[in-house]
Amino acid sequence: MEREILLTGIGGQGVQLAAQVLARAATDEGRHVMTLGTYGGTMRGGNTDSSIVIGDAPISTPPIVSRAWAGLGMHPRYWPDLAAKLRPDGIAAVNGELFEAPVEAAAALRVETGALASEAKAPLAGSLVLAGAFAAATRLVRLASLIAAMEDALPSYRRQHAEGNARALRAGWDSVAEPLCEAWPDEGAS
């Protein structure tokens, strides 16, 4: 089984970090993973997208994903491109503070990323809140894996953010009461 996840946002929102954390966490859990980040130019305000494919066997999908099981949206500006690729039975997790229109997906999750991040005293870590919530909603990876992966992904000169980031991931995870759409239905809950 291959799970394709697309992320979109604009520069500075931490989309690439969130993608890294999800992908590494899955890798650490022994899955096969493929990810590709794309940037819409150097300018501020340009889009920043990422795709992740997670599977239980070597990934055969090409790195440019055209149909996805899940979409994570930090900013609505480039969301329509992503939404067009979402399978009808897919799940969408979006930043509830910026997305005004309702999101069309079989399972939709709106997360107050900014508020939760601020509460967690990590105001810049909104994308990690979203990642945490998404993981909780899908049981794609465990929270502990997310936290470990995040620590791993931080460059040395950003280590001081590790604790705040962990709180943000947890805040997201905790914001979801129960799974909406299990990533690995055959494996049972993690």
């Binding site: 590494r24 899955a26 890798t27 493929m34 590709l36 130019g41 055969s60 090409p62 790195p63 440019i64």
Partner: protein, 359 residues
């Protein structure tokens, strides 16, 4: 198994180092830059040297000098930078030096350059075109082995996707057949004894004035023929009863394979063939794979280059049609709209019409 999430560029640099590469020189150019950066970051701790050369011409010269001493060495660029290196690459081949060259290309428009040699004269590199990061790890190590085995440059044809896609992989050092000693390598030791080494691309022999082109070329030609006979590699799938055969290489093959698998799952009689070595091109295998089909569709991201080799393999036995084309993004990095499963599926389905492959 300790898989780590690594971009292709990082994995290739690690694989090279695992294979014993101790020298790299390059000049930044998208999407090759990250490969250079990874060599620069990793080689010194492995006891090697990475030079951020001042230009591609200088990079290839440095790599030439390094591999001439017997060290495992590599260089690379995108196809554009390789254009500048062609004079050297042509001569390095004739000097029979084992160099590994990376083309992190902007798409697949450098197929001719890679397979025919863009420089003057008759020469060929072995060309490996990995389909994904995992295979790239293998190919890089194989490349160093083959370069030493044949004393011939080996080119790895990658692209933006290969370099920038991260996959969870494990870089394990591979074993290969033993290689002869590099007694030809210049280390200075043969000076003063009346029988020095002279590593040159024109068949000069120390102590003898002028050159004897005939014996020189005969030797090279024989090696060329032996390489061609020995090193053809390919991959194929779903050939049974195929009515349409889709041929693709490198990153495009990953798209092609996916689409063929999808279609087969739907019962469509379509097959897949991938040359793994672009030179030597696996002509006989392709001819065989194409034996029963009604049509061969070539998916390449260029104006039609590999299609020559496909036609030269199939030799009229079935019609050969291009289903790819030039496709670029607005930055010119070769990540264009063709790199899309739906688009490719559409083209394959178009090619299917009339090929009788619909179940």
């Amino acid at each position: 198994m300790t898989r780590r999430l690594m971009e292709g560029s990082e994995a290739m640099a690690e694989a090279a180092i695992a294979a014993g590469c101790r020298f790299f020189a390059g000049y930044p150019m998208t999407p090759f830059t990250e490969l250079l950066e990874n060599f620069a970051a990793k080689l010194p701790t492995a006891g090697g040297t990475c030079i951020n050369a001042e230009s591609e011409l200088e990079a290839v010269g440095m790599a030439w000098g390094a591999c001439a001493t017997g060290a495992r060495a590599a260089t690379g660029s995108t196809g554009q930078g390789l254009s500048l290196m062609q004079e050297s690459l042509s001569e390095i081949t004739r000097a029979e030096l084992p160099l590994v060259v990376f083309n992190m290309a902007r798409g697949q428009s450098d197929y001719y350059q890679a397979t025919r040699g863009g420089g003057h004269g008759d020469y060929r590199h072995l060309v490996l075109a990995p389909i994904d990061v995992n295979e790239a790890i293998h190919h890089v190590q194989l490349a160093f082995h083959l370069a030493d085995h044949w004393r011939n440059p080996v080119l790895i044809y990658g692209d933006y996707l290969l370099g920038h896609t991260a996959e969870a992989v494990d870089v394990v050092r591979e074993g290969f057949d033993p290689l002869p000693e590099k007694d030809w390598a210049v280390d200075g030791s043969r000076g003063g004894g009346g029988d020095p080494r002279n590593l040159n691309p024109i068949g000069m022999v120390p102590g003898i004035k002028g050159i004897d082109p005939d014996s020189f070329w005969k030797r090279l030609q024989a090696k060329h023929d032996a390489m061609e006979a020995a090193e053809k590699r390919f991959d194929q799938e779903h050939l049974e009863d195929a009515e349409l055969l889709v041929v693709a290489f490198g990153s495009m093959a990953r798209f092609a394979r996916h689409v063929v698998r999808e279609l087969r799952a739907e019962g469509v009689r379509v097959g897949y063939f991938r040359p793994i070595t672009l030179w030597p091109f696996p002509s006989e295998a392709l001819a065989q794979a194409a034996a029963g089909v009604r049509k061969v569709a070539v998916l390449e991201q260029n104006a039609g280059q590999m299609i020559d080799d496909v036609r030269l393999s199939v030799l009229g036995a079935a019609p050969v049609a291009p289903i790819g084309g030039i496709s670029s993004d607005s930055a010119g990095f070769g990540v264009g709209p063709l790199l899309d499963i739906e688009t490719i599926r559409g083209r394959v389905e178009n090619a299917l019409d009339g090929s009788g492959a619909r179940a």
